[in-house]
Symmetry: C2
Subunit: 434 residues, 2 copies
C-alpha cells in the first residue's frame, strides 16, 4: 500500500511554479479528497539554483529530465516546459516508463495527441491535458464525462486572450489595430512576435484538441481554415456595432450529420445577445451545442499562472484518485470515428463584406448584380459617402450562402471596374439568419 | 466478464423519458466511450400502459419499485421520480442492495445527501447527482474534479429559471410582478403554485448542494437565509438600471477564511458588466471564485427534458466506466470540514433601499442622520418627487456595511415620522465597492 502519490515536475517556470504553490497551499485538502497525500517529489529545471532559492529544500532538484522520467518513486509526471520538442519525447518516455502524465502543452497535444494517447491507452495510463486549452476553464473533462451522452453539433470558442483583449479594446475605445497591438505588447498581453496569436495559429491548436474530443475523431491542424485579425479595421467593428453585432476571433468546429466536420479560426460577427458576445478582455469562453444539453457555455481565465495551475492540479488529483483505485486509463482517447471533412461547397453562412467603390451612378446596381449572379442574396446593404472622398464605402451582409459561391462573388467583385477594393470579409454567426 | 451495463429506471416521465431517448439515440457512441453497451433494462412507472405504448417493447416494465431495486441484473438505478418520499427510501434501498445510483432529485440530495452519500461510500458505490442542480450544466462534477485543487471562495448562481425569466421580462418590458407571473404561468414557465420558485426555496436547495461540495462541509437548508422576489417592483428594476445594475435572484455562498460560511438566496443587484448580469430568460449560470482558478462561469439550460437527461446520462456513463474498472465510489462525499457559519454581524455588503418619504423640508437630512447613527455610509442617493404625490421616493445605495447595522438602520427608518414606508431592500454585489 502506497502512503503517498509522488509527482515529478518538468519545468518550474510560470505554470510549474504555480502548480507547486497550489499543491503546497492546499495540500491538506487535496490529501483528504484523494485519500492519500499528493506531493511534488522532484523538480527538473535548467535554472537549478534559481529554483532552489525560490522553492526551498522541500523538493529534490535536477537539471536532467531523465532523473524524473526514470525515477521509480514517481507516479505522475507533470510536463510544463511547453513547445513541441523535447516535450513530446519526454511525455513519450514517461509513458513508456509506466508513468501517468499530466500536461499543459497544446502544441504537443494538437500535433502528437493521437499517438501519445494511443500509447497511454496501450499502457493503461492516464494522459490528461485540461490545461492545454483555455487555462483554468474546465472544458476537456466535461466534454469527456458530464456531456459524454451528447452528440456535439458545434463548438464556438473565444480561446485566445490576446486577440480578445485587442478586439475588445478596438471596440470600446475606437482604436486602430496597430495602436492596440502596440499597447497590448507594452502591457505584456501580446508577445513581441505576436504572429501565433493575431494570426490564429494558437486558437487553431486549441480547436484541434477540442473538436477531436467533441466529435470523437482526429482533427489535425491541416484541417483548420485559419484567418487572423490583422485585416480587421476599427470601421468594421463600428459597422458591426451599428448592425447589432460584435467582432470576435472565434475558433469554430461544426459536425453536420450529412457532410461532416468543418473547423475554422476566423474573425466572426456575433449578434450582441449571443452569450459569447459579452466575453471581453482576457476572458476565454467555449460555447457548446449538443443534441441533449442544448446550449452551454464555459467561461474563465484562459491563461495565467494560477488558472493554468488549477487545471494541471485538477488533472493530478484525478490521476492520483485513479492510481489509488487501480483505474488509470479509465477514460480512453475516444477518437473512434473516421474523419469526415465537410467539402467547402457544403459550408454556408452569412457574410459581411466591406468594399471601397467609385462614387458614381450605377455602382451599387452593378455590385448587387455581381452578387446575384452567384446566387448570393443580400440581407443588409449600407452605403457611406464621405465628404471629399471620391470613393464610397459599401457594406453588405449576405444571407447564408455556400462558401464557394461567396468566394466566386468576391473574386468577381474585386475585378469590377467600379470596385476599388474588397477590404474586409467577415463570417457572420447568426442563428436567426440560417 | 459482463457484456452489458444494465440500468433500471425509476420514473419515466419528463426526465426519465428524455434519458431513455438519449440512451437509445446515442447508444452506439456511448458503448464505444464506456467500453461496453449501456442499456436501460427495466422501467418502473405507475403509468404502465402509457409507458409501454410510448417506449415500445425493448424494455421490461413494472409498477413496483422493488422489481428494479432487487433485480440482480441491474447495475445502476436512475431515480427520476422527484420529491422527498419515497424517492429517498428507494435510493437508500438501491444502495443497500449494492446498486449504484444516479439521481436528478435536488429535494432528496439537499435534505438527505449526507446520510445517503455516507451509505454509498461505506458500500463503495457511486451516488451521482449532476442533474439535481441546474439541469444540463456540468457543475458538480467540475467542482469535484477539474477544480478540486482550489479553495473555493464563493459561488453565485442564477439557478432558478422561473424567477430569471420573470425578472428578465420585468426588466425588458417594464412590466409589474403580477403581470409577469401570470404570463409565466400561462406559458408553463411558472407553476400554478409558484411559491417554491418565487419564494427562493428551489434555489436554496440547489445552493445547499453546491456549497456543501464547494466548501467540503455539510450545509443544510436551515443555514440558508432565503428571500424571494415577491417584493421586487418594476420601479426597483428601473432604478437599478439607471444606476448601472440589473436585479437577479441569486443563490450565494461565501467561505471566508476568518468567519466561515454564509449562504443565502436573495434578490441581488449586479453591475451590468458582471458575467452573470447578461444571463437572461430560462438560462441558468453559476459563477465561481477560487484561489487558483480566479473566476469561472458555467452557463446553460437549467431545466427541461433533454438538458436534464444530458446530465443524468453523463452520470450513468461515469458510473458505467467505474463499474467496468471496479472503481465505483472512487470520488467520495468530501464533506470533511466541520461546518463553521459566519455570524450575521460579520457579513457585510452594499445595499439598495427604496423608501416612500414625506415630501417636506428636512426629510432627507433626517434619513441621512438615521443611517449615519448606525455607521451606514451612503454611496448613491436619489430623490424622486412625482407631481401630485404627497410622498417622494428616496433611493439609496449604501457602502459595504455589516448586515446587523443595516437591519437596525432600516428598523429605525421605518418608525421615523417622515418615512411612510421602507419599500424594498436589495443586496448589492459589487466587487468595486467592497
Amino acid at each position: 500500500m502506497k502512503d503517498c502519490i509522488n509527482v515529478g515536475l518538468l519545468g518550474a517556470g510560470t505554470v510549474g511554479g504555480g502548480v507547486l504553490q497550489v499543491m503546497e497551499r492546499n495540500a491538506s485538502d487535496i490529501a483528504k479528497k484523494v485519500g492519500l497525500p499528493v506531493r511534488v517529489l522532484k523538480i527538473c529545471d535548467r535554472q537549478l539554483e534559481a529554483m532552489k532559492k525560490e522553492f526551498g529544500d522541500g523538493y529534490e532538484y535536477t537539471a536532467e529530465a531523465d532523473d524524473v522520467l526514470t525515477d521509480p518513486r514517481i507516479d505522475i509526471v507533470a510536463e510544463l516546459i511547453g513547445r513541441e520538442h523535447p516535450a513530446k519525447e519526454f511525455i513519450q518516455k514517461a509513458l513508456e516508463q509506466g508513468k501517468n502524465v499530466v500536461t499543459a502543452n497544446k502544441d504537443v497535444i494538437a500535433k502528437f495527441g493521437g499517438e501519445l494517447l494511443e500509447l497511454a491507452q496501450a499502457k493503461g495510463l492516464d494522459l490528461l491535458f485540461e490545461a492545454s486549452v483555455c487555462g483554468g476553464i474546465p472544458i476537456i473533462s466535461p466534454l469527456k464525462t458530464s456531456m459524454a451522452a451528447n452528440k456535439i453539433k458545434s463548438i464556438m470558442g473565444i480561446v485566445n486572450g490576446t486577440t480578445n483583449y485587442m478586439l475588445s479594446k478596438m471596440q470600446d475605445e475606437h482604436l486602430d489595430y496597430d495602436a492596440v497591438l502596440k499597447e497590448a505588447q507594452a502591457k505584456g498581453y501580446a508577445e513581441s512576435d505576436p504572429t501565433a496569436d493575431v494570426g490564429g495559429l494558437d486558437a487553431a491548436r486549441k480547436i484541434v484538441i477540442l473538436s477531436s474530443i467533441a466529435f470523437n475523431t482526429r482533427v489535425s491542424l491541416e484541417d483548420v481554415h485559419i484567418e487572423g485579425i490583422e485585416k480587421i479595421e476599427a470601421c468594421d467593428i463600428k459597422y458591426a456595432q451599428d448592425m447589432g453585432y460584435v467582432v470576435k476571433l472565434l475558433a469554430l468546429a461544426k459536425n453536420g450529420p450529412k457532410y461532416g466536420v468543418s473547423v475554422a479560426v476566423q474573425p466572426t460577427m456575433l449578434p450582441m445577445d449571443h452569450p459569447l458576445a459579452s466575453v471581453n478582455g482576457v476572458f476565454n469562453a467555449v460555447f457548446i451545442q449538443g443534441d441533449a444539453i442544448g446550449e452551454a457555455m464555459f467561461l474563465g481565465l484562459g491563461a495565467g499562472r494560477y488558472p493554468t495551475a488549477s487545471s494541471v492540479c485538477g488533472d493530478i488529483i484525478e490521476t492520483a484518485r485513479n492510481i489509488l483505485r487501480h483505474s488509470t486509463g479509465r477514460i480512453g482517447c475516444g477518437c473512434f470515428e473516421e474523419k469526415r471533412l465537410c467539402p467547402p461547397d457544403k459550408m454556408h453562412y452569412p457574410t459581411y463584406i466591406r468594399m471601397k467603390v467609385a462614387d458614381q451612378p450605377g455602382a451599387l446596381a452593378a455590385i448587387a448584380a455581381a452578387f446575384g449572379a452567384q446566387n448570393v442574396s443580400l440581407r443588409n446593404v449600407l452605403q457611406k459617402n464621405r465628404k471629399g472622398d471620391e470613393f464610397a464605402e459599401v457594406v453588405v451582409i449576405t444571407h447564408s450562402v455556400p462558401e464557394t459561391n461567396l468566394a466566386t462573388a468576391v473574386q468577381v467583385l474585386s475585378v469590377l471596374p467600379m470596385v476599388k477594393k474588397v477590404c474586409t470579409v467577415i463570417r457572420v454567426e447568426d442563428r436567426t439568419l440560417d
